[in-house]
């Protein structure tokens, strides 16, 4: 099993999800985060004073996938979250020791 985490653009979430759903990967958990990398921040004003919000709103998705699905999922995210502009984000593939489904108590791949 793997845990795939990806930081993507909020606008792309639905496209990514649609692709995943079509590939029969329904489970997902979504975080609202703020991030900074190469993309430059947002310049705002208040009463004429400029201020900079350099941590931009980003969406993080987290998926628990079986080893065999892992590559496919990464591929799908890579394709659908891609715009080619700075700020597209990253995908992490993380090891997972075990996974348990609370409802049924199943564990491992069965828990996904």
């Amino acid at each position: 099993m793997k845990k795939i985490e990806a930081i993507i653009r909020g606008e792309k979430l639905n496209e990514v999800r649609k692709a995943l759903l079509e590939a029969d990967i329904p489970g997902i958990t979504v975080y609202e985060v703020r991030g900074k990398g190469n993309q430059k921040g947002l310049e705002l004003q208040f009463r004429g004073r400029p201020y900079n919000v350099d941590l931009l709103p980003k969406t993080k998705i987290e998926l628990m996938v079986s080893d065999k699905n892992s590559e496919k999922v990464v591929e799908l995210i890579k394709e659908t979250a891609h715009t080619g502009n700075v700020g597209d984000g990253k995908i992490m593939i993380l090891p997972m020791d075990d996974l348990i489904k609370i409802r049924t108590g199943e564990s491992g791949d069965y828990a996904i």
């Binding site: 979430l13 639905n14 979504v30 609202e32 703020r34 310049e43 705002l44 980003k58």
Partner: protein
Amino acid sequence: MFQEVIMMKIISQLILVLTLSIMVAPIVLAADPAGDITLAEDSTAAVNFTWTLMAAFLVFLMQGGFAMLEGGLVRAKNTSNIMMKNLADFTIGSLGYWAIGFPLMFGTSVAGIYGVGSWFLLGEAYDVSTYLLWIFQMVFAGTAATIASGAMAERTKFRTYYIISFLITALIYPIYGHWVWGGGWLSMLGEWYGLGLGHVDFAGSGVVHMVGGGAGLAGAMLLGARIGKYDNEGKPRAIPGHSISMAVLGVFILWFGWFGFNPGSTLAATELRISIIAVTTLLAGSAGGFIATLYTWKKFGHPDVTMAGNGVIAGLVAITAPCAWVEAWAAVVIGLAAGLIMVESVLFFERKGIDDPIGAVSCHLIAGIWGLISVGIFADGTYGLYTTEGPFVTGLLYGGGTGQLVAQVIGVIANFAWVFGTTYVIFWTLKKTIGLRVSKEEEEEGLDKTEHGAICYPDFTAPLEESKKLENYEPKKQEMK
């Protein structure tokens, strides 16, 4: 950037020139600026001034009501922008109405088409009665421009909207207003062609609301729908407004202001008819809200809060023309019909691809039409043209024949033709020159950031609003009936 600079140059130079030209000639050519002569001639002046001014103040507060209603029904990312529009259209509009709008509307009539008189309230206009009329009429004019901003919300360039609102208040509104309230041709339909008492519109279902709604319709059509309003198959989708409580506060403030709008239009407390008008205003609003509650409950499965609020507004808009000429029961009937018409109209325009985020077209234009027509049906012949003396306004049901009804219909047509026509041309021209709509990116970012560099609620983030609500949308199986 370029046009913006030019526009601002023009405006500021205009102001400068005018100011200078005024400053070199501070001659007081006034009529009765202190008011002692007026009071001596008419002992009821004090109470009538009190009544009219207090009513004008209530109408003024409607600006705040519209800001809340419109603000609540748009997304958080466009809320500063809609606030700014409501502030800006009033501030620039009142200067426009002061400069040219008022004389265009109430000056000496030129062929029944427009008026000419003291620009900038100068000279003769420096008179307590003229100033009184000006402020009451000004707050009405302010309302018309504000209404349009609702239908055009969440995608219009601020700069362009700024020009539009100036033109509505300084030109389009006053000229139509002249036709009905300034002694223009629509008001003469009775005298000239025997059509009832001519086209009548007690407090402005047509003059104010149809004008605002008509301009809004032209704007919404030329703008096109907001991104995400329709799915790939063209089916409308929900774009929830960001604060229902703000919208409901807006409804209550507007209703409160309407008690200045309608009863105040007598411009005199010595017309005791004001109590009747207050009651018809209250009941029509209630009836509109009541039926919208029940109807949406049945149709959507839930009583819909913002539609109930819109129902109140529709009832109020509809009663605005007939408020002084009908009884309580007729006000209820007019309000009930307005509420029903409004709900169906909102869904109709939405289906037709016209995206009006706050339902301004349905509440103001459509309910306004119904209001004008209802005069020709329900006017009961107990009250005249802002006076207890005859001739009385009488509709179909009370033996008035079809004359009044025809005059009302003519007014509806003239109003729509003039307002929709001129605004369509103006907006189209602006669209081709400085542009009407913000870019796709700006719209997605939200107008608060791109137009004002400022977000409305910086302490509360709402980054996922789009994806959270709009997408992943699966059309409900059981469609609305």
